[in-house]
């Protein structure tokens, strides 16, 4: 790796355009809404720049706090489920014979590139009152009914009432897990794949069983991948807009939906901005902590 000062011209040419773009069309917009989060909403929906914390205070009012808590809660449950479902998959692929690794990864990641809207819609097809699950159950109900009629016991089961599987918090969790699973599997796989197998073999050799090896050796050594994956999934789940919008019920409003509402219907942009930042501050803090820790580790390693 070269020092940038040795080759200032190529460095500027290569870094310049992208940096400019991301500065103007990402960093500045973020700064703008940060400024707006301290602003005030005028009577006709305009925004007045001010220096008030009113919006943040409003954000932690009980009604809004409740939504925030729900988002955190649903985000947390989704992350946990993603971990439980995704860990074995990442493990299996990481320990698969080499020629299967890439195909397996491909299979897992491919759905991720389908439109999120479509993937969410697909669950409506599966779980709707006239969806696959209910149709299947209805068919079984009909078959059972027919069987009972043959044995002289008609109408024992009554009419089939389809299960209301959609439009509640559970559906939202399922949808979030479905959409974010690759985000957990990929970093975890990357970490597990690089793990030196001899650590696991050494643990077995010294007398530990498979489960013990998993908890005492595999999990601690894979922790960076686990943490990265979980944080990613948690942030994305918590701030997701589409899944609660399409699959959730009236009480499944999450913070993403609230932000959208403030911007579209209520036209209260400062408040919406403040809400956005309530989600973004933790992200920034987490990244900052990570960066500091990485720098500290590097310095410690350089000293030994």
């Amino acid at each position: 790796m070269e020092d940038w000062r040795k080759n200032k011209l190529p460095f500027t040419i290569f870094m310049g355009p992208a940096t400019f773009w991301l500065l103007v069309f990402f960093t500045i917009p973020v700064v703008v809404i940060w400024v707006y989060s301290f602003g005030e909403r005028g009577p006709l929906g305009q925004t007045y720049l001010a220096f008030s914390f009113d919006n943040y205070l409003r954000a932690i009012e009980p009604i809004h706090l409740q939504i925030l808590w729900k988002s955190i809660w649903i985000g947390g449950v989704s992350t946990l489920l993603c971990l439980i479902v995704g860990f074995p998959v990442a493990l299996g692929i990481a320990f698969a014979p080499d020629r299967w690794k890439n195909p397996l990864l491909l299979v897992v990641v491919l759905p991720f590139f389908t439109n999120m809207l479509i993937r969410t819609f697909a669950w409506i097809v599966v779980l709707g009152t006239r969806g696959v699950v209910n149709s299947g159950l209805g068919w079984m109900h009909g078959a059972l009914d027919g069987l009972l009629t043959l044995t002289g016991q008609p109408d024992l089961m009554g009419d089939f009432v389809p299960l209301e599987l959609l439009y509640n918090n559970y559906t939202v969790v399922v949808g979030l897990v479905y959409v974010h699973l690759p985000f957990l599997i990929l970093p975890l796989y990357a970490t597990l794949e690089k793990l030196d197998r001899s650590y696991l073999e050494a643990s077995l050799d010294l007398g530990a069983g498979q489960w013990r090896t998993f908890f005492s050796v595999l999990a601690p050594l894979a922790m960076p991948g686990i943490v990265t994956g979980c944080m990613l999934v948690f942030i994305l789940s918590m701030g997701n807009f589409l899944v609660p919008d399409r699959l959730g019920g009236t009480d499944s409003l999450m913070i993403g939906n609230l932000i959208a509402q403030e911007f579209n219907k209520a036209r209260d942009w400062p408040f919406g901005a403040a809400l956005s930042f309530v989600v973004m501050y933790p992200v920034f803090i987490f990244f900052a902590i990570n960066a500091l820790r990485a720098r500290r580790q590097e310095r410690a390693r350089a000293e030994t």
């Binding site: 001899s198 650590y199 050494a202 643990s203 050799d205 007398g207 530990a208």
Partner: protein, 362 residues
């Protein structure tokens, strides 16, 4: 000791990876208390064999018994052997103490006993004050000693070591060589090491098995492997050797008569019988160089010096000879000044006693 039962009994073991046969019908008995080496070039199957002993590879055919118990279906954590891995595999997220204690902890040894045993093991490898350190604060050699302590604290019947000296620098390698032998004698258990370095095997082992492409060529103590190799492969793999093509011409008394290309007929002492094409060889250090043609009773050959390689304590002199084979003669530099001053282009005679000739089949 002579009628003792082997502690490891490998019987007709074969290992296949798909269509590749890594280990082919190998049978070896390792005796209790031995320092045994599996020696061979890379790809010969020695590491696979070691891993089968440890339980990390399954056996395709054949049986392995350790201390009289069949090991079929026995998982690694239940075997009475422990392994020191080539990369040492010292757990980076635990202290030295916790590393060494790990094997005791997971098998349910009570806490108060663990401390004592761990300290004993650390003392054995001279790491008494290192308990609190983390692996990334240790050098390679120190990490290896942690791996040793960790394995030995479990008092296994057999200790397996995978290329133990390959990651160390030359000076450390020397020191560790002696250290390992001393350790083995003081602890008294059987050691099995895998190595591709014949110096290591010769200097450390009581007996070694030389392997080639999945097959065991010879099992013998180092001296026998060196002076009485049973095949071209073993003779060439261990040490240097000057090889000549020959045809058996007959027998006379205790001698084998051979026609050697470019040398005519020679009489070589040989106990067995042989016919057809064979190899005839002599070790470089068994040869003597002289300016004058040597007298009777030795096998002699004339050659022109083509190269001199100086190694400090000895020199290898390369001669182009009439047989077409380039001979190497190893000469000790046993006097500081003068001694043999040999220059490229010199005409010299190389000779050796007939009894030092090796007769080798494929």
């Amino acid at each position: 000791m002579t009628d003792a039962k082997p502690i490891i009994s490998i019987r007709n073991v074969t290992k296949n990876f798909g269509r590749v046969t890594a280990v082919d019908n190998v049978s070896i008995d390792v005796m209790p208390g031995e320092f045994f080496a599996l020696l061979g070039p890379s790809g010969c199957g020695k590491t696979t064999l070691l891993r089968m002993l440890a339980g990390f590879e399954t056996v395709s055919e054949g049986d392995i018994e350790i201390d009289g118990q069949p090991m079929l279906g026995v998982s690694p954590n239940k075997r009475p052997v422990n392994m020191v891995f080539q990369s040492y595999a010292v757990f980076p997220h635990m202290t030295v103490f916790d590393n060494v204690a790990y094997g005791l902890k997971v098998t349910g040894v009570p806490k108060n006993e663990i401390t004592g045993q761990v300290e004993e093991a650390l003392a054995l490898v001279h790491l008494e004050d290192y308990g609190r350190r983390k692996p990334d604060q240790l050098s390679g050699g120190q990490r290896q000693r942690v791996a040793l302590a960790r394995a030995l604290v479990k008092k296994p019947k057999v200790l397996l070591l995978d290329e133990p000296l390959s990651a160390l620098d030359a000076k450390l390698r020397e020191a560790m060589r002696l250290e390992l032998v001393r350790l083995q004698h003081s602890v008294g258990i059987t050691f099995v090491i895998v190595t591709h370095d014949q110096d290591e095997a010769l200097s450390m082992a009581d007996r070694a098995a030389v392997m080639d492409r999945g097959v065991v060529r010879q099992i013998a103590p180092p001296g026998e492997l060196y002076e009485h190799p049973n095949s071209l492969f073993v003779a060439d793999f261990i040490g240097k050797v000057n090889m000549m093509e020959a045809k058996v011409a007959g027998q006379s008394g205790g001698d084998l008569l051979v026609e050697v290309k470019g040398m005519g007929r020679l009489a070589v002492p040989y106990a067995g019988a042989a016919t057809g094409d064979i190899g005839v060889a002599v070790r470089p250090e068994k040869t003597v160089l002289s300016a004058e043609k040597p007298g009777e009773g030795v096998i002699a050959l004339k050659g022109k010096v083509s190269d001199v390689a100086y190694y400090g304590s000895e020199s290898n002199i390369m001669l182009d000879t009439e047989t077409g084979v380039q001979f190497i003669s190893t000469v000790q530099n046993d006097a500081r000044d003068s001694g043999l001053s040999v220059a490229i282009g010199d005409d010299l005679w190389i000779s050796w006693a007939p009894g030092n000739t090796l007769v080798l089949a494929e």
